[in-house]
């Protein structure tokens, strides 16, 4: 009974077999993005092919017409399922709402209804035009609504292809393969349909579109099995970009080349105290201090918003967006909250002043009064007040470290730095024998190293109370790093002190005895170095500091 062209029939059966197989594989891949939509697409195209097979094998004209009409259910399922699949598969599923799906289904539903009731209006007619030599009833379709349905189908086809095209240039082989297979799968039948409707293809007695579904089936099977379509899915990539933009703590404002705000993230809207939906399309100059209002502080571009007591400060960074020709498309303004950083900087400055001037002034006054008296008490007062001065100086050193003031770019001579430290130590501790083994070649290191070396040498000397007190400083250059070893023959650093240092924090009950070792630790961290402690033989400690060269 089935007749038209010998090749068309096996291809129709093949399209059903491949479509059903791919549908089963896609169904098993649920809930991967796009799996369910692809199942519907494959069911739609398989149903279309099935109805054509039944139409061709029909014994009466009425039967053939019936199957052609019912086939429209599959015909119109395909484009809707395709656009839904494309949106889900590429991570744009935020557009898939009940409302949008209902809207997308209006034309297909009308088309099916018009096909089923075609004898009453003729907007979409289905009529028999003859019988082949093999007895197959030939059916012709047309009408105004036929053109509407065709255009709608092509439109959804193109809209679905658009987001998938972007994956053809993906860096991942799997995504390139998947997208290429999908495009072949959808373009082949649609191109066949366009050519058929334009009358370009030779007449085979039926709409040849379902025959092309055999190629689609192979393509979809290839995408699922060969390119692991539901094993490696690009959907999260698209969502991740939007998620990052929406959820980063920094504010972000996208401005086009005409000073118009085209996007702003939640943090950006909160910082600028605007509504996201209302700010889009407004002039950026109204909201962002693009030129004059920038308040420069130490060279940084700082934006301050809010009133005095509740004001917050933001470090503003402007990045230019360009097209592939290098032409400016717009700018991204990122607003990084630096309020806390600025507040800490302010507090450190106050502390620096207190440690640098106020304490020393008060100590001088105390020492002045102490000099008016004599005896052990006066001497003790002098020694203790000098100790207060030393502690305040260490505190000041610590503040200098935190202010990053010592992390200079140019650097200083390692040999000079060591000489200076040892000279000061020899003055302070004349009873200790200091020895320096300088490197064969000098190198530049961060000035911050002086705080570290000063404290290491002082620590080695001050706790050494034996007869033969020795401190040996050895420096070596190894590739791009300098290694300074400070060895003493004293009693060694207490394990308790090192434990506190390694824990990185202190409590009122568990703390080190002073600031010296903390300055060593902080100092090496600030200049990207490291420090290690080892026992010396027969007694004492070897402290090794490794720092990068400038």
């Amino acid at each position: 009974m089935i007749s038209p062209t010998s090749i068309a029939v096996p291809l129709l059966f093949g399209s059903v077999a491949l479509g059903a197989s791919a549908a089963i594989l896609a169904w098993r891949a649920r809930p991967n993005p796009g799996a369910v939509s692809l199942v519907w697409l494959l069911i739609g195209q398989s149903w279309w092919s099935t109805c054509i097979v039944f139409s061709l094998s029909a014994e009466t004209a009425a039967e053939a017409t019936f199957w052609t009409k019912v086939g429209w259910i599959g015909v119109m399922t395909v484009p809707v399922a395709w656009i839904l699949f494309a949106l889900e598969y590429t991570g744009r599923d935020e557009h898939i709402t009940r409302r949008n799906v209902a809207l997308l289904s209006v034309v297909p539903t009308l088309t099916v209804l018009l096909a089923l009731t075609e004898e009453y209006h003729g907007l979409l007619y289905v009529r028999t035009v003859g019988v082949t030599a093999h007895g197959s009833v030939l059916v012709e379709q047309g009408g105004v609504w036929y053109s509407v349905a065709a255009v709608y189908t092509y439109l959804l086809g193109v809209l679905g292809i658009a987001p998938i095209l972007g994956l053809l240039s993906s860096g991942a082989t799997a995504f390139r393969g998947q997208s290429a297979a999908l495009i072949v799968g959808v373009v082949t039948p649609w191109a066949t349909n366009v050519l058929y409707n334009l009358g370009v293809l030779p007449e085979v007695g039926i709409d040849p579109t379902p025959i092309a579904f055999a190629i689609s089936g192979v393509a979809y099977l290839g995408a699922i099995d060969r390119f692991r379509m539901f094993g490696a899915n690009p959907a999260p990539a698209w969502r991740a970009k939007q998620f990052l933009f929406d959820h980063i703590h920094d504010g972000a404002v996208v401005v086009d080349g005409h000073d118009t705000i085209v996007d702003v993230n939640r943090a950006g809207a909160a910082i600028l105290d605007v509504d996201v939906d209302r700010v889009l399309g407004r002039s950026a100059s109204e909201l962002l201090p693009l030129s004059e209002p920038f308040r420069a502080e130490d060279g940084a571009e700082i934006l301050t918003v809010g009133t005095e007591s509740t004001s917050r400060s933001y470090d503003v960074n402007v990045s230019e967006l360009t097209d592939r020709h290098g032409e400016t498309l717009g700018y991204v303004f990122t607003l990084h909250d630096v309020t806390q950083y600025l507040q800490q900087q302010q507090r450190l400055k106050v502390l620096n002043r207190v440690l640098r001037h106020n304490i020393r002034t008060e100590v001088n006054v105390i020492q002045g009064y102490a000099e008016r008296t004599t005896g052990d008490t006066a001497e003790t007062i002098k020694q203790r007040t000098m100790r207060i001065v030393e502690i305040s100086e260490k505190g000041r050193d610590a503040i200098d470290l935190f202010e990053d003031a010592v992390n200079d770019r140019e650097g200083t001579s390692l040999a000079d730095l060591l000489e200076r430290s040892l000279e000061a130590a020899r003055d302070a501790f004349p009873e200790v024998d200091f020895e320096l083994e300088s490197p064969a070649e000098d190198a530049a290191v961060s000035e911050g190293l002086s705080v570290v070396v000063d404290n290491l040498i002082e620590n080695a000397a001050i706790h050494n109370e034996g007869e033969d007190r020795r401190v040996t400083v050895t420096a070596e250059i190894d590739d791009d790093r300098a290694r300074i070893r400070v060895a003493d023959n004293g009693p060694g650093i207490d394990d308790y002190e090192l434990d506190v240092l390694n824990s990185g924090t202190e409590t009122p009950l568990r703390h080190a005895s002073g600031l010296g070792l903390w300055l060593v630790k902080w100092g090496t961290e600030v200049i990207d170095g490291s420090v290690s402690f080892e026992p010396n033989e027969p007694s004492g400690t070897v402290v090794t500091t490794t720092v990068p060269l400038r």
Binding site: S21, R28, R30
Partner: protein, 313 residues
Amino acid sequence: MASETNELPASTGDFAPWRAAVPASIVDVGYRIRDVLTYSSAYLVFIAMIEVLTVHIVLSLPLNPAPVVVGLVTFAVYAGDRIADADDDAISSPERSAFVTRHRTLLSVLTAITYGLAIALSLTGGPFALAITLLPGGFWILYASDWLPTFGSYFKRLKRVLVVNSTIVASAWAIAVVGLPIAFAEASVTPLATVVFVYFLVDTFVNTEIPNVRDVKADEAVGVSTLPVVFGIRRTRRILYGLDLALIAFVVAALSSGILTTAVAAAILVGLGYALVLAWFVGRNTAPGRLAIAGEAKHLVVFALLLVFTTGV
């Protein structure tokens, strides 16, 4: 058909003396083939096709693609079921689970292609053949998934209901085995076809309950009510006796009313006698997997007897 085995059909232990003379490589290949046939449910394909050919002979239908379609569907549904249950089978059938897990991708693609081919082939039989071909897969989808939440959960509840669960499975297969050859031949449903349908329905029901004896604990754990879970093994055995005896009475009645020929009735009655013997072993043997396979193999006995009685082969 419709029952599943979770055990090897034969021991994989030490070689028997006669095997010692066979080269180890040949024995190994033999074991591999047996593993593929049992673990992938491929042996059920053969038995299912024999059942359809039995229907062809009994109803005197011309040979058509129905046996092939049923065979393809059987493989797709059972192998697909084993893929879905591979993780759960890890405890009860570790070898089978390991086999399915190792070949999961291949089996998955094979089952999809075999069902796709079955659907395409069924188109040559017309809309009814297509509908019947889709039926077992449709039931399987509703059983094994929550794709259609409302219907899916409803069917999942049915799966737990005593008798209903096995009846649904038996109905789907009986309709496929009896309905497909009729649909392909565009024949009408006669009283003889109805008798054959009832025979396959009850017989498949019995074969579905036999493996449930072994799965009592597992079924209890997941809340599935089967005959052994509700009535215990001894009473289940009696119920199976009762069903087989009722079927014998039904066949005798069909014979006496002239619907069944003597040859067909004799073949079926011998098969049912075989089933009664098997029912005696329910809960009494140590290899329930082999018992289930023996239950399926009954169809081979009936088919062979039919060939002898009707064609003199």
